[in-house]
Symmetry: C2
Subunit: 207 residues, 2 copies
DNA sequence: TGATATTAGGACCGAGCGGTCCAATGCGCA
DNA sequence: TGCGCATTGGACCGCTCGGTCCTAATATCA
């Protein structure tokens, strides 16, 4: 992948995260990536749609490196990994200063009904994310109650995190996400055999 | 409020829920509400922005009538009301066939960072919603553990529901929302003194 | 009947959109 | 030196956008 292509992708990713796909014009991307003109952009991408697809892929790659990687750390207890992963999501959002929500959730809300091509790609992203959590839960199954439904629990975790990031954006208050993260860990703890006191810190109401 | 105004508001609400605010043109609204032309529309609304604000208000009014009303039913046990409210959210989304997510969540994702006017209005909507849940939790406090944080729990409920509706939209599968609703009730149940077996049905893993 | 809103309908505006095309540069490499 | 590619820069296209303006037709009620 050429440098310029990555440069365009990064500029577009930032803009789309801030303003959404439709409200980010190709001219905005050109300005953001400091290209010389339209022809320069269309030298690298066939269309704005293609750009959008690749931005989504790249955002997921980044998320895989900076967030999901924690789920696969082999030396850490699986449930603690899950806790660290939730912390990482909070930290990632904190870095952005509350603005610019989840790159997936944003596109989902904007395009899920309007653009089938994006919908299926976003669905695939969430599925890959969920499958990572599922395999972690599988790894942790000796510590969990027998009747834990990994599919349902993984969806619950993702939905809650996505919703929490959205609320944080609206209220411009990272504390919202932090509080929900604590409660989410508590909920996961209720699936653990001994009550969840081991790996998932944060008892009821403890800040 | 004149009939025509309401007609425009309803048409716009449907379109904006489906396609978002930016992707709904004034001409679309005119076609949807069967107006004769632009001047006819601008006879009732000063701008598209004003229309958007009033659509948001109207959506919240509708949600107050059809959803939040359950939270205030005086003859039902508060925790059971909360359960019924969650069921109502599921039913509302089910009616829409999985498409068209939360009218608030959609606008939030699309406009929270880009348009301050919308952001503060959406924040107010979520705050009013949260306050209804808080006062219900206050009512239910004899049944709850002493250390339940009503502010945090109400935010958790809203975030999870919003996230779940979004996931349902992406996967086009109402079962996602139904599963998360069950888990959400279970989580609320963990805040109840006797273990939550009374008002909130649905034990662990029971479908 | 006449005065007054409301409704209808279309022409028009400046701006931005995604996208195409073209001509002129640099710039390394055989 | 000359070939080929990346880069620069701008003109241009058809279309849609939010919004304005102006003129009739139609309903309402004194």
């Amino acid at each position: 992948m050429s440098d310029r292509r990555l440069q365009i992708l990064d500029a577009a990713a930032t803009l789309i995260a801030e303003r959404g796909y439709n409200s980010t014009s190709v001219d905005d991307v050109i300005r953001g990536a400091k290209l010389s003109g339209k022809s320069h952009f269309y030298h690298y991408f066939r269309s704005k749609e293609e750009l959008g697809y690749e931005v989504l892929n790249r955002q997921f790659e980044r998320f895989t490196e900076r967030g999901l990687a924690i789920l696969r750390e082999p030396m850490i207890d699986p449930l603690e990994r899950l806790s660290l992963f939730i912390d990482a999501v909070v930290a990632l959002q904190s870095e952005r200063g509350g603005r610019g929500g989840s790159p997936f959730g944003n596109l989902a809300a904007e395009l899920a009904d309007a653009h089938e091509g994006f919908r299926v790609r976003i669905e695939a992203v969430f599925e890959r994310w969920a499958s990572q959590i599922r395999s972690l839960l599988w790894e942790a199954r000796p510590q969990l109650h027998d009747d834990v439904d990994a599919v349902r629990l993984s969806r619950f975790i993702i939905a809650t995190l996505e919703g929490a990031v959205l609320m944080t954006r609206v209220k411009r208050d990272i504390g919202v996400l932090e509080g929900i993260a604590i409660d989410l860990k508590r909920f996961i703890g209720t699936h653990v055999r001994d009550g969840g006191a081991v790996a998932l810190q944060g008892g009821r109401g403890v800040e």
